[in-house]
């Protein structure tokens, strides 16, 4: 009969954390940043079908990196959580804070109680009436929550991407500028990385829209935004342009 080895809790947790980190660092990155009209989500994701960025509720969106089946499971759970709360109470009573809490509990329990932690990192963001009231929560595989301001980078090479964001990010910048900053930051994943519109998944929570504020941007719109020069005032086309082009199924 073989004797089970004693593994100290510290070692166990460290092993799990290393495992999860390794899994996450293999994937491509996602950045989330505030711009003048709301919150912008940009993922280095060539797939049109498997999304890393999704709508959760009227003012709330979700971005994730890591293992697809794991974060998709969390996303679907989040949609159910939001819809059932909004149905039982009121649409205003569904908050990113509540959702982040539920995710934190779920991830924490999975991390401590199961052998295999989730290899995911999430952002749950809620757009407010103004930039001051925007909320961005970052959740890691062990259930820790961080309340972020301005910008977040996650995924493989997150440090390099975050550094690039730190250098390029400016508060209250218009959509086109914020998108360019985000794309430049994502290109910092590798020294020779060039990202085109069709290999990007981009969505916004635009506080000037009505009812459901989440919108995906089409490849054409992304190209337009990336193409317009830095001095170009992009506000003119933002709100209405997204509305007509940015439907989910493009």
């Amino acid at each position: 009969m073989s004797m089970p080895f004693y593994v100290s809790p510290e070692q166990q947790m460290k092993d799990k954390a290393d495992y999860a980190r390794k899994g996450i660092s293999r994937g491509r990155s996602v950045v989330v940043l505030q711009y003048d009209d709301g919150i912008l989500f940009v993922a280095d994701n060539p797939s049109r079908a498997l999304h890393k960025i999704s709508e959760i509720y009227d003012r709330i969106a979700f971005a994730a990196v890591g293992k697809y089946n794991e974060f998709e499971n969390l996303r679907l759970g989040g949609v159910r959580y939001a819809d059932i709360n909004g149905y039982q109470y009121d649409r205003r009573d569904v908050t990113a804070r509540g959702l982040a809490n539920v995710y934190a509990q779920s991830l924490g329990t999975i991390f401590t109680e199961t052998n295999k932690p989730y290899e995911v990192e999430l952002v749950v963001a809620e757009v407010g009436e103004d930039a001051e009231t925007d909320q961005i929560y970052r959740l890691t595989f062990d259930g820790s929550v961080a309340d972020e301001h301005g910008y977040v980078a996650m995924g493989g090479q997150a440090d390099a991407v975050a550094q690039a964001l730190k250098d390029g990010y400016r508060e209250g910048s218009p959509l086109a500028e914020a998108l360019r900053t985000a794309v430049r930051a994502l290109e910092a994943q590798d020294s020779d990385r060039r990202l085109e519109a069709k290999s990007l998944e981009v969505a916004v929570l635009d506080r000037n829209r009505e009812h459901r504020l989440f919108r995906r941007l089409t490849a054409r719109r992304i190209e337009d935004l990336l193409g317009s020069s830095a001095s170009d005032p992009s506000e003119g086309s933002d709100g209405s342009g997204d509305a007509s082009e940015g439907s989910d199924e493009s």
Binding site: A49, H51, S54, E55, I56, N73, L74, L76, G77, G78, V79, R80, Y81, D83, I84, G86, Y87, Q88, N101, V102, Y103, Q105, S106, G108, T109, R212, D248, E249
Partner: protein, 281 residues
Amino acid sequence: MASHDSHAGRLPGLFSSPDSSSFTEFLGSYSPDLLPGRRPVPVSSAGAEIPHGTTIVAAAFPGGVVMAGDRRATAGNMIAQRDIEKVFRADEFSAIAIAGTAGIGVEMVRLFQVELEHYEKREGRTLSVEGKANRLATMVRQNLGLAMQGLAVVPLFAGYDEERDAGRIFSYDPAGGRYEERDFYSIGSGSVFARGALKKLYRADLSAEDAALVCVQALYDAADDDSATGGPDLTRGIFPVVAVVTEDGYRRLGEDEVGGLARAVVEGRYDSPGGPTAPLR
């Protein structure tokens, strides 16, 4: 089954089970008593004392559909409410309206709205117009027990069909029967009179604005002959709810627009109380 207390904490297993994209089905397993059709049916008939919504009309025009409802709710011979709203946005490209027991109807509408949005968010695509209409039929059918006790609800559903670039109208019976209607339809207590008016005023080539006018005329005729349908209330400024669904999505006409239409209709009736006349030959 997961208890409701686990709400505040982590997601119970039920939330992450991969099965259905239907909100109604999820609600049925999570908290069945929240579904209108899953409650014990009252033993005796509970009809007349509970507010009922009355007349709804809809008319298709090239490229879309208009839906309109009067603002009255009645409880027996009492006017329960004079500014109730019975026409709603179902999702971006469809509208739903209810006639019958107001409380259950409004609940059904809320559930239907979440159902469509829930599907869209989970699947990343919207349901087809038929898919939405069928889903609604299931909800109506679940209410059959209550309908037998005098708490019937009958919705009218209208949506913009992207493939055909046309508006489509679906009606229902209390047993969940779903029928696609051509051109126009009306439901509720004043529907008989409204349909007569629609029949005479409808043209296949109406503009969106004229289709709205036809609907307001039809509602006036319904109010003219049905005591449970409310006409335009000029003194209080209460006018029908009119919604237009086109490729640009759902749009509820503003108070000014509907007020203008309603005033024109009332104005016209001073000269001709029966409304516009159709050519005889």
